[in-house]
């Protein structure tokens, strides 16, 4: 079955192709069958391959070459797909969560004019994302990387008639492009060093080529981190993601929460050999993650738009993954990625359903009391929120986040500061999560919900709710059952995380702290937003400037506007009539001047032409006689 791995990305591409060619002619009933069906088939194939993985006694690691992409001297990247446990986890999440979101979209987007267009873009996205995670060389990975960026652009600006959506799309595209440029330079340097961009060859050769901490490998690692930071919306390129919520909710769920934004995590995990050789860069990854999770967490506290809270929480949770990567807890990062994909897709889909049923009302303060009105959405949202807030023992989010907290304290790469940042982040996370729950579903009803959601929207929510509960139990800490199915599965690709000597004893203490912190956040949210709603208004009144600052995402937009956008538009305003272009317009001007003269002689009057012939003859005769 692993030989047919190429079918997994090929099927969504085929679906997109069919929709591009025939989408306009298809009926609205047929479009989701093609769109969701192709991804569903991919998911089935993924499942079959997954079963083969689990039943195989030795770890599977296989490359399937489909064709040679191009050949320039020794540089000959293949279109080849590499399947091992790491890409297995990613394609599992992409195809399954992608399929559920396609099913959900079939109902969510039914009234939209661009129904077929929407599924075309979604299919194209799923295909590109699968190419990204299955690529056996970094060139093909980069193709997928840019493909998902393009789809992200197209889908953020899906409702392009509104100007702000187009702006958000351009912003996302340009900001991520900054990171992509850094990554491209990193790839060039890797190629210069190894004459190949095959990931397996780089992994084998890198430790021989470079000593630990060599300046060249550190630079490459930092450049790759630049690409990851742009795609995964981490500091300092995080400001595009909140605006990306302009797209339809299924897009936010699929691209800007579950899959694309975690491409940076995948990249770093895939090139972990490079990062292990550059401890400085790896520490930078951890610091970026820790800072981002705090910044985004505090921003999420102050948002009023339901989807923007989720956007900031996505940035913050990916911050946790980066922190885990930075401290060398590779499998924990991937575990948190998977769990996060489940519960964040769930939250976005549920939030999308709420917004949909409240006639596009995004303001949480205008919602409330939806608990009884929309029970299915309420319960599934609560499961997702519990996972995000890491409610102890019953949610999967607790197990994945607890692992990161524990290793940021006790792992070899961990230290007190990173641990404290993660702990504060956990508290803030549960505070803003339950602020969201209490404001939306509790209290009195402020906006009337039209009708309840249909089956195609409810079933994916329930499936994701189940996944984000049971998903946690495949990896339990030492103190609670000690199950290591997930990290055991990944160990042939990613090294196990090492503990600092003597730190082992305090594990239950850390877990207790994490549990208390997340429950404390929930209790504080209960006090502020449910029991004494006046309190949070007073708290906001105490520090209005800070509130505004956090609400604007720590002023990054204003900063970039001043430092980059304004000078750029200023220079382009000066150079409006392109200086270099003057030379070329000069040539065309001379040509059109001569043209005008000759066009004038073509007067259409016969006698002029005769005169021309006579004068010409006289001149020729004169010359002939004189010479």
């Amino acid at each position: 079955m692993t030989d047919s791995i190429w079918l997994v990305p090929a099927l969504p591409f085929a679906g997109a192709l069919v929709l591009i060619i025939a989408g306009r002619m298809m009926s609205r009933k047929l479009v989701p069958w093609v769109g969701a069906g192709s991804v569903g088939l991919s998911a089935v194939i993924t499942l079959l391959i997954g079963l083969e993985f689990l039943s195989s006694p030795v770890p599977v690691s296989k490359t399937v070459v489909v064709w040679t992409w191009m050949q320039v001297a020794e540089f000959a990247p293949d279109v080849a797909f590499h399947i091992d446990s790491l890409s297995m986890v990613f394609i599992f999440v992409i195809t399954f969560v992608g399929f559920l979101i396609h099913v959900y979209s079939a109902e969510f987007m039914i009234d939209d004019e661009g129904y077929a267009r929407f599924f075309t873009f979604l299919n194209l996205f799923v295909g590109s994302m699968l190419v990204l995670v299955l690529a056996d060389n970094l060139v093909l990975l980069y193709l997928g990387w840019e493909g998902v960026g393009l789809c992200s652009y197209l889908l953020i600006g899906f409702w392009y008639l509104e100007e702000k959506n187009g702006y958000a799309a351009r912003k996302a595209f340009i900001v991520t492009r900054v990171g992509d440029t850094a990554m491209a330079i990193g790839l060039f340097m890797l190629f210069a060093a190894f004459d190949t961009l095959k990931i397996s060859e780089i992994q084998a050769m890198a430790p021989q080529q470079w000593t630990v901490g060599a300046p060249e490998v550190t630079l490459i690692a930092v450049l790759l981190l630049g690409g990851a930071v742009g795609k995964s919306a981490q500091l300092p390129l995080q400001n595009w993601l909140p605006d990306a919520m302009a797209g339809p909710s299924p897009v936010s769920a699929l691209i800007h929460a579950a899959t694309m934004v975690t491409a940076g995590v995948y990249l770093i995990a895939r090139t972990h050999v490079v990062f292990e050789l550059a401890p400085g860069a790896q520490l930078l990854v951890a610091v970026v993650g820790a800072l981002t999770l705090l910044l985004a967490g505090f921003s999420a506290l102050t948002q009023w738009d339901l989807k923007r809270v989720l956007a900031y929480s996505t940035i913050s949770q990916i911050g946790y993954m980066f922190l885990a990567l930075g401290i060398g807890a590779w499998t924990s990062a991937i575990f948190h990625f998977m769990i996060h994909a489940f519960f964040k897709a769930l939250l976005f889909l549920a939030a999308g359903a709420v917004i949909h049923l409240l006639h596009h009302e995004h303001d949480m303060f205008k919602m409330g009391g939806l608990r009884k009105k929309l029970p299915a959405i309420y319960w599934t949202f609560l499961v997702g929120a519990g996972s995000l807030a890491a409610i102890p023992f019953i949610t999967s989010g607790f197990y994945s986040k607890d692992q990161i907290l524990w290793l940021s304290w006790a792992g070899t790469g961990g230290n007190t500061w990173l641990f404290l940042a993660a702990l504060v982040g956990a508290f803030v996370t549960s505070l803003y999560t339950f602020r969201m729950v209490f404001l939306t579903f509790f209290g009195e009803e402020k906006t009337h919900a039209g009708h309840s959601s249909g089956m195609a929207m409810t079933i994916p929510l329930i499936v994701l709710a189940v996944l984000s509960t049971v998903g946690g139990f495949i990896e339990l800490p030492h103190t609670l059952g000690h199950v290591e199915l997930f990290s055991g599965f990944l160990h042939d690709v990613l090294p196990a995380s090492q503990l600092r000597p003597g730190a082992d004893a305090s594990e239950w203490l850390i877990q207790l702290t994490a549990a208390i912190v997340s429950l404390g956040g929930v209790y504080l949210a209960y006090l502020l937003y449910l029991r004494n709603p006046e309190w949070h208004k007073q708290a906001r009144g105490l520090v209005p400037d800070l509130h505004r600052f956090w609400q604007a995402g720590w002023g990054f937009d204003a900063l970039y506007d001043t430092v980059f956008v304004k000078p750029f538009t200023f220079i382009s305003a000066i150079n409006k009539s392109d200086v270099i272009d003057k030379l070329y317009t000069g040539i065309t001007n001379a040509a059109s001047f001569l043209h005008d003269i000759f066009a004038w002689t073509q007067s259409g009057i016969l006698r002029w032409y005769m005169m021309g012939i006579v004068v010409g003859t006289l001149i020729i005769l004169t010359i002939g006689l004189l010479s």
Partner: protein, 102 residues
């Protein structure tokens, strides 16, 4: 051959040619322009005849027959065009037929 010196004949041909040329340039009526062209052709034909008789060659007369044939063809095409122009423009003024300007 005696009698009229061939310079007289050539001078007559030159005068006729110049008159024809001038009237092509100054006339605006297309029919007159066509007549003037005929005069120029006949001037050229006269020059050939005179030259042929001067050197006792038949070539001059051969050329004149060519010119005669060509002139007949030219007049038939030219008159057809003139009819069309008159049909379209309701005038025979050549300056009015300047639609191909520029």
């Amino acid at each position: 051959m005696n009698g009229i010196p061939f310079e007289y004949g050539l001078t007559l041909a030159a005068v006729l040619f110049t008159l024809g040329l001038i009237s092509v340039l100054v006339r605006r009526n297309i029919i007159f322009m066509l007549i003037s062209v005929e005069i120029m052709l006949n001037a050229a034909g006269l020059a050939f005849i005179v030259a042929g008789s001067r050197w006792n060659q038949p070539d001059g007369q051969v050329m004149f027959i060519f010119i005669l044939t060509m002139a007949a063809a030219e007049v038939s095409v030219g008159l057809a065009l003139i009819l069309q122009i008159y049909h379209q423009l309701k005038t025979l003024d050549s300056d009015a037929a300047n639609k191909m300007k520029g």
